[in-house]
Amino acid sequence: MRVLTCGDSGVLVEVADLGEALALQAALDEDPVPGVAETVPAARTVLLRVAPDAPGGVRAVAEAVRRLRPRPGALPQGGEVEIDVQYDGEDLGEVAEITGMTEREVVRAHTAARWTVAFGGFAPGFGYLVGDDRRLDVPRRGESRTRVPAGSVALAGGFGGVYPRSSPGGWRLLGRTDAVVWDLDRDPPGLLVPGTRVRFREV
């Protein structure tokens, strides 16, 4: 674990891989560091935004982080959501080909896997999901689509995701959901906040 500072307003904690980043976020959930206004998890880092009035500033936060002992394999806290999916995505056949499974086996693997939202980014409401079935690790499409419809359920680069709104995208589309993953009139607006456990259900 490397503890880096971002000026006087952030502490960036770098770890070896996504598993360690999740365990670190879990440790921060369990044992919040005083003076941290919010955390921004990413693939190999967690950024701690330090409140302007935090006693001791970034130095105190950095010291407190160094004392954390993340438990390997721990996952951040979060609620659970089930997402209903119609598995009629344009890339389902391709994903079957890449993974060496049949289309039905891909659907079964996707619905059986336990997913956790690791971090956000790309667009408001987009959550990067990590699952426990490595067979579903497929690369991005060679070429991005200019428009992926809102609610598209997709895979790429070892992650799963649901497009919060229509946008360009290069992930492989398995299907679509009516679940609203981003709603500004809801609190919190995002369904897939980091730490959330996700199960996909075929409808």
């Binding site: 971002c6 960036l12 921004v40 998890p41 956000g120 790309f122 409401g125 959550g127 995002g190 897939l192």
Partner: protein, 292 residues
Amino acid sequence: MADRALEVLAPGPLATVQDAGRHGHAALGVGASGAADAASYARANRLLANPEGAAALEVTMGGLALRARGEVWVAVTGAPCPVRVGGRGAATAEVLRLRDGEELRLGPPARGLRSYVAVRGGVDVPAVLGSRSTDVLSGLGPRPLSAGDLLPVGEPPRAFPVLDAVPEPPVGGDRLELGVVLGPRDDWFAPEAVEALLGREFEVTGRSDRVGMRLAGPALPRAVGGELPTEGMVPGSLQVPPDGEPVLFLADHPVTGGYPVIAVVRSADLPRAAQARPGTRLSFAAQPPDGP
């Protein structure tokens, strides 16, 4: 319709509604946004005895014209621009009364980039995720102002202004020195990059907005090749993309970024940074994270 409102006659090059920001949603990719020069914005609200966080107008390079509906009290701070109330000259950093139907007009500022027009009671447009700020990157919040917009004015606070005027610190200028703390990714750069950052000048280019200022200057060569996994960013980050022109992140910066940050401008210097117009020469002075 609100009893009191401000009618936009002309927005100038860019005018937006801004407040103290949209906090707490960074994990889902929503940035803080808010007034780029938070110090000038706060001063305008204080003059009017508004609560902290009351929404005001951020006016880029002047040009804003408003007409009052009902009597409203306003104050203009930040980049010093010629102010006219009902055709008469008026001062910045002072409490100004607009009678019903009277116009407020801002000319182009002599120095600096962003002026703030606060109104007693605050601009009462609907909040999105707890903030009325326009985030030009994510598109959240009200649209930038356009002619014909009617901005409702909120209930005035109980407190009354105690000062008619406040001293304004100097804003803008041809040259600006900003304090930076090296890192978090200064080790991705060759030693001569850090020397150039701290020893040479950079010019603010025209490709600058509320997201960030693109800077032209000496090359900042990397010591480490390859790609940085996307990571969280703070305002003031000096991110260096492969083309070598650093970007100084301002209020609407992306929550995460994929290029290494060589240094971060100190929070206290960000309001001054946000007043640097294109052509301004910036220099960076290294400071320890917790001093002075």
